[in-house]
């Protein structure tokens, strides 16, 4: 299913009408309000000399400690009778100037160190970064304090101190980017053309690093304003008569109980300033972070959303355990709808193995994951059809019922056993958990059962293996564990989603034969998802070929392998590596599968089909029977004689 989402995301990038970055930023209410607030504050600070404000340093002992909203003093006066509003505007000016200067200094030296370290590499890099690590080993503010202690209190010294402690952030970020850039071709080209190192560093690399420097600046400037204000608050920054917001707050603190407004107002200003910068910074980062753009960081819920527009009549194929009719699953990403599965019918008998074959993006995994509601929502949702497990509609039952069926009646084996097993729990923990989720038994009994399961999947030393973590096993072993887990509760159906794709060839064969044996022993039905007809021929009784969310051909494995009727099936079979003929793989089919948000009318395969005729692109093409079991969705199916095109 991840494949479908990623194809979908790629498709979206091409889509027209996406809002530009500025629009995105303004759409974000928080970021937009941050921007407005920041612009107001900066404007007030810049225009301070032009504003009709009293002299911020003019003392008036008679008017001391006036409350806010007093006539002539909107925000009141401080202990010396100075106008707080005027001092606030001028103080903001100082705080902003100090914060920005500190950021520029830190950015300059930090970026320089990062550029040199990243470009030079080797000893220079090790030496510089060791130094940076040392500076970072200090609690942030403490180092600034030590520097101020040595240089003596004062606004300029506080500025230097804050700048110095922020250098490491820049150095580290910039070094990382520089290392990547200095390995790129354009740098080699510049070197060959005889440019000096300095020329390359500042002429070629710096322009590419600049955006990162600016982003780092935007994330640290709020901090720097806050910390310089803090030093001034402690009396170590701005010294009277000079005043920034921090020192105003520090002075006001002495009369906190009698005249709280004197300290609260400048504090509120620091807060507003830093908050507006952080709001804006977050907004900018969200816009620039591509992961957030596609909504990929959205948390999938426990079960796929079901919003069926159509619910088919109950139907049965005699003795089938699973019956799927007209399944539709869609992904809603941005404003686009991707019809990953567009009307699938399937049936599965007890003990039978049905293969679903197709390229990535064909919807085969989404079909399988839809059954037990394991397609991530958002963005996925089931929009039509039904799946009956022994007559019970899986899309209509309660969440609790689905939970009870998962891992019990229907179990899963996934593709990559390293990422599908939890890295922080032992094999034993994960197996017993699977057992105990469905049976009220004691841990010791579950342990015994887990051991038995490992023995069943031919793992030697099972008692020992229960205590190990997934990363301590080989890929094949891990997949055996996953199979054991699928067998834990005598499932009626095992859904195996490319269970051998991540394994190497010999292990693949072992796992396939193991699954085949276990299926015959346990009489469980298997829904086997794969892109590989070689695998199909090894284990499947019947096969359904999927393309662009639909079944294009189905039949017994023998029929389809011997006489593929759909041109696409034929191509897939041709992709199976033949011994002594390496290089024939799936990507050998020229062209890419269509994006499923905008399917052409008629046959979805038309663009890649060697037999395409004009009427292929017109109207719906139905699945037509070729015999008792075989059916194909093609106007000009291959027959025995023409199969060699």
């Amino acid at each position: 299913m991840s494949e479908a989402v990623s194809t979908a995301a790629k498709g979206r990038a091409r889509g027209a009408g996406r809002p530009g970055p500025i629009r995105l930023l303004l759409n974000n209410t928080l970021a937009a309000s941050g921007l407005v607030l920041l612009v107001l504050i900066i404007a007030a600070a810049l225009l301070a000399p032009l504003l009709p404000l009293p002299d911020p340093d003019a003392t008036a002992p008679a008017d001391r400690l006036l409350r806010p909203l007093t006539e002539g003093h909107l925000l009141g006066t401080d202990a010396l009778g100075r106008d707080i509003l005027s001092r606030l505007v001028w103080g903001t000016r100082v705080s902003l100037a100090v914060g920005i200067s500190a950021t520029l200094i830190a950015a300059f030296f930090g970026s320089l160190i990062g550029l040199v370290a990243g470009y030079a590499g080797g000893r220079v890099d090790a030496f510089l970064m060791r130094g940076i690590d040392m500076v970072m080993a200090f609690p942030y503010i403490l180092l600034a304090l030590a520097i101020v202690a040595a240089l003596g209190p004062g606004l300029l010294n506080a500025l230097y101190a804050i700048a110095v402690v922020n250098i490491p952030f820049f150095a580290r970020n910039i070094r990382g980017i520089t290392i990547g850039l200095s390995r790129r071709e354009f740098v080699d080209a510049a070197r060959l053309s005889g440019k000096s190192n300095a020329g390359i560093l500042f002429g070629e690399i710096l322009p590419n690093v600049l955006p990162v420097i600016i982003i780092t600046m935007s994330t640290t400037i709020g901090w720097m304003i806050l910390e310089t204000a803090g030093l001034s608050f402690l009396g170590l920054g701005a010294q009277p008569p000079q005043a920034d917001l921090g020192s105003m707050l520090g002075e006001g603190r002495k009369i906190l109980f009698t005249a709280p407004h004197v300290s609260i107002i400048p504090g509120l200003m620091i807060f507003a300033l830093v908050m507006s910068i952080n709001l804006l910074g977050d907004g900018v980062r969200d816009v620039l972070d591509p992961r957030l753009k596609s909504g990929a960081l959205t948390r999938p819920v426990a079960r796929t959303a079901v919003e069926r527009r159509t619910v088919p009549e109950t139907r049965t194929h005699g003795d089938s355990v699973l019956e799927v009719a007209d399944l539709n699953t869609e992904f809603h990403i941005g404003g686009d709808v991707y019809r990953a599965v567009g009307g699938i019918d399937l049936h599965l008998k007890q003990g039978e193995c049905l293969g679903i074959v197709g390229e990535s993006g064909s919807g085969k995994s989404v079909t399988a994951m839809s059954l037990m509601g394991l397609v991530p929502t958002p963005p996925g949702r089931i929009t039509g059809g039904a799946a009956w497990l022994d007559g019970e509609d899986l899309f209509a039952v309660s969440d609790e019922r689905i939970r009870a069926l998962r891992g019990a009646d229907v179990s899963h084996v996934f593709q990559d056993p390293l990422s599908t097993l939890h890295p922080l729990f032992t094999i034993g923990d994960q197996l017993t958990e699977a057992i105990m989720a469905h049976r009220p038994i004691r841990r010791s009994e579950a342990d015994a059962r887990a051991e038995e399961l490992l023995r069943l999947v031919r793992i030697t030393n099972p008692a020992e293996r229960l205590k190990v973590y997934p990363h301590e096993l080989s890929g094949g072993m891990r997949q055996r564990v996953c199979i054991a887990m699928a067998l834990a509760n005598d499932a009626k159906i095992i859904i195996a989603d490319e269970p051998t794709t991540a394994l190497d060839v010999t292990v693949q064969a072992q796992i396939l034969s193991l699954m085949d044996t276990l299926r015959r022993e346990s009489n469980a039905a298997i829904l086997f998802i794969t892109h590989d007809f070689g695998v199909v021929s090894a284990v499947c009784d019947r096969v359904a070929v999927m393309y662009a969310g639909r079944i294009v051909e189905t039949g017994t494995t023998e029929e389809v392998l011997n006489a593929p009727a759909h041109p696409y099936t034929r191509k897939l079979i041709d992709c199976v590596p033949v011994l002594g003929e390496p290089g024939r793989r799936l990507d050998a089919i020229e062209g890419r599968p269509p994006v499923v948000n905008d399917l052409p009318p008629g046959c979805a395969f038309a663009a890649r089909c060697p037999r395409v005729k004009p009427d292929c692109r017109r109207g719906h093409i139905a699945l037509s029977s070729l015999g008792d079991t075989q059916a194909v969705r093609c106007l000009y199916p291959l027959t025995g004689e023409t199969a060699d095109d």
Partner: protein
């Protein structure tokens, strides 16, 4: 595991050396005659002669460092002339008060931050998530020293629920309830910023983890959603949040400087601020060194916990 801890401890030694060099160099930046600077108003000719003899301040820098380091390794951080007592005694006494404050704050911010982050991730885009997101933004933007003043005004002046300053009541008190009563406001204030940072990263970590294949496996096994989130997802998220908590220890220790000043907590932060104003430089040097060393050990502890949680790191 013991071997791992020993290895980490050994690896911390060069870092501690580096710290000592930086602290020493910062103090060597002081303009003018170092003996006079250190002694300040106590710079009588006898004192200058004595301190020069003790610390070798008239010798070249590398030699000075070795003398200083030698003293340091013997637990001698010099003498505070203003307080007329050994620096180490004063620093350790003050540091224990800071440890109580910062330790409490660290526990508070870890619990609150993890909780808020998990709730926020589980209720993504819901009301709780929106409220927490805004609170987190406020938390990381608010000047802690200002927040402290607001809390004093609200809870010590308006509603007399908590004391405004100090660590124990002047009359009576001195027991644990009294300490907790005094501890509440400053510890809470100190925890705010770190809570915001931890909550934010926990949310991201949880969202990241909840998309992993092993979470799908957990669901496919038929586990309850509670178990999926609080056992499978949370444990994995915790592994990436623990180092962040280690780093936050540094911000909490540093932030204690402000909070101790605001609440007149007799810790090392308020000591440092006083020592800087009175130019008691040996006291500053000793204080900075001890807090920095404690921070290194905090991070080491975070590393060890992370390794305990994640078998892949062993």
């Amino acid at each position: 595991m013991a071997a791992y801890i020993a290895k980490r401890l050994l690896a911390a030694i060069p870092v501690l050396f580096g710290l000592s060099i930086i602290v020493f160099l910062i103090m060597a930046m002081i303009p003018g005659d170092p003996a006079t600077a250190i002694l300040g108003s106590y710079a009588t000719p006898e004192n200058v002669a004595r301190i020069n003899a003790d610390l070798g301040l008239d010798k070249p820098l590398p030699q000075q460092y070795l003398i200083w380091l030698g003293n340091l390794l013997q637990g001698d951080l010099g003498r505070s002339y203003a307080l007329n007592r050994p620096v180490l005694d004063e620093v350790l006494e003050r540091f224990s008060a800071t440890l109580i404050l910062a330790g409490t704050a660290l526990v508070l911010c870890s619990i609150l931050g993890l909780l808020a982050g998990v709730v926020s991730a589980v209720r993504q885009y819901g009301l709780a998530d929106k409220v927490i997101t805004v609170l987190v933004l406020i938390g990381i933007s608010i000047p802690s020293f200002w927040l402290g003043l607001l809390l004093i005004l609200a809870f010590a002046v308006k509603i007399r629920l908590f004391p405004a300053s100090g660590m124990y009541a002047i009359y009576g008190g001195g027991d644990l309830p009294d300490l907790l009563h005094h501890l509440f406001l400053p510890a809470l204030t100190l925890a705010v910023v770190a809570t915001g940072v931890i909550a934010r990263l926990t949310r991201t970590a949880m969202l990241e983890v909840l998309r992993q294949d092993y979470i799908r496996t957990a669901r496919a096994k038929g586990l309850s959603e509670r178990r999926v989130i609080y056992r499978h997802a949370f444990k994995a998220a915790l592994v990436s949040v623990i180092p962040v908590i280690g780093i936050q220890a540094g911000f909490v220790l540093g932030g204690a400087v402000y909070i101790e000043t605001v609440f007149q907590w007799p810790g090392i932060g308020s000591m440092l601020v006083n020592a800087i104003s009175t130019r008691d430089l040996l006291l500053v040097q000793g204080g900075v060194l001890v807090v920095a060393a404690a921070y290194v050990l905090f991070n080491l502890a975070a590393d060890v916990v992370q390794t305990l949680l994640d078998p892949r790191l062993r």
